[in-house]
């Protein structure tokens, strides 16, 4: 049986680990609430954007934006992979990457090449190991994602699409279902999949101040950006939720471990006392 002293140090060290995980759990819980709010706040923009894009798409504008037309032959696809910057959030990132790798090997089997844009340090580190054509990167997003940080990375992918370097663009992120459930999701960004609720009763079009083409270009850029931002905001909420859950179970496990060790410690202590007693008794008998 291990010495009582060693067990005591172990209990102490697990105890301090538990303190840390408990603190992280509480920090994550409060951050999650804010992240969820941010996620909600970004919704109206994306929704309005979608309406306007649907209008312009169904309107009889002479200009049809390249994002709206599907290309039949796919030779290269683009992925925008949204991950967290920090770890200790359970299987959040690895679940996402697993799903992505399956999708990627499907493309690979078809002989389709892939370009990847990574957002977040974990994705960056993953593709360093996995090996992929990483064309742009945005890391250090922080707890309050800002669109400005993402713009550059997204622009490269959108430009690639217009230039024909990629034929399809996907965004990969964790969808926030609720605190316990985060769903790894792969969503097609470009070509834009038309929403079902496009009304076609009467044809009308906007007055475009300046060229329709310029305005629609800007509109499409902002729309895609808003979708990616939404994905980042969702992923952020997921990260905090996953961390909270992971840290809660770590705290619980530490508690269980301490209980067990305490039992072992008590046994060791008693054994030592019994031994001492029997030695004394034995010694006295010998005298």
């Amino acid at each position: 049986m291990a010495g009582a002293k060693e067990i005591r140090t172990q209990i102490k060290s697990i105890g301090s680990t538990r303190k840390i995980t408990k603190a992280m759990e509480m920090v994550a819980a409060s951050k999650m609430r804010r992240a969820q709010e941010r996620m909600q706040m970004a919704r109206p923009y994306a929704r309005r954007m979608r309406n306007v894009v649907a209008h312009t798409a169904s309107a009889s504008a002479e200009y049809k934006h390249p994002y709206l037309s599907d290309r039949e032959q796919v030779t290269t696809v683009g992925y925008i992979v949204v991950s967290s910057d920090r770890g200790l959030c359970g299987g959040l990132n690895s679940n996402l990457f697993r799903k992505l790798v399956v999708a990627m090997s499907d493309w690979n089997d078809k002989g389709v090449k892939m370009n990847v844009c990574v957002i977040g340090k974990k994705a960056s580190a993953f593709f360093k190991r996995y090996g992929a054509n990483v064309v742009s990167e945005a890391t250090d997003i922080g707890d309050t994602p800002q669109l400005e940080l993402l713009v550059g990375a997204i622009k490269i992918m959108m430009d690639d699409y217009v230039e024909g370097k990629i034929d399809r663009l996907f965004v990969v992120y964790n969808d926030f279902v609720n605190t316990m459930t985060q769903k790894p999701t792969i969503e097609q960004l470009i070509p834009i999949i038309p929403s079902e609720e496009v009304e076609t009763q009467h044809h009308w079009d906007y007055i475009y101040e300046r060229e329709a083409q310029e305005i629609i270009d800007t509109l499409m850029t902002r729309y895609i950006e808003s979708l990616v931002y939404q994905a980042v905001a969702d992923n952020n909420a997921c990260e905090q939720a996953a961390r909270m859950v992971a840290m809660k179970s770590a705290t619980d496990n530490a508690g269980k471990l301490i209980d067990e060790l305490q039992l072992v410690y008590n046994k060791a202590r008693q054994a030592a006392i019994t031994q001492e007693l029997s030695e004394i008794v034995g010694g006295a008998a010998a005298v």
Binding site: Y45, V52, V118, S136, E148, W204, I207, Y208, Y229
Partner: protein, 139 residues
């Protein structure tokens, strides 16, 4: 009095929402005044103030750093940008993102070299040890 629903949103949050009798916005081609019942219109905005005259006559000023204005007869939507955007600025941001990716790849190469060197070193040390052991045995 006829009113028009005004929503000012950005990608990060809903900035302002309410009813107004008149909306003024800094359109790209010139200042726009929108009254209820305006024909559908869409334009880009310059950075500046969007001014909403509310039902009680009070005015609300909301600064937008550019964006898109969409007008429907009973609805005005301002899709505001979160920061001042320009083609050049976007281009710079894109270049930065690219550079970051390239640097990361270079880093990966150097880290890989380091790991490889470490592995080689470890195996060499192991070889030396086994040679030494053999020598001791022979003696």
């Amino acid at each position: 009095m006829a009113t028009i629903q005004v929503d000012i949103v950005s990608a990060e949050q809903e900035i302002w929402s309410g009813k107004g009798t008149m909306v003024f916005a800094p359109g790209e081609v010139g200042e726009l005044g929108i009254a209820p019942g305006h024909t559908p219109l869409i334009t880009r905005l310059n950075p500046g103030d969007v001014r909403v005259v509310k039902e009680d006559g009070e005015e609300e000023f909301i600064f937008v750093s550019g964006g898109i204005l969409e007008v429907q007869p009973h609805h005005v939507t301002v899709l505001s940008d979160t920061a001042v955007r320009g083609h050049d600025l976007d281009e710079t941001a894109a270049l930065e993102a690219k550079k970051l990716a390239e640097e990361a790849l270079e880093d990966a190469a150097s880290e890989m070299d380091y790991a490889q060197a470490q592995a080689e070193l470890a195996s060499t040390i192991a070889q030396i040890r086994s040679i030494e052991k053999l020598r001791k045995l022979k003696k």
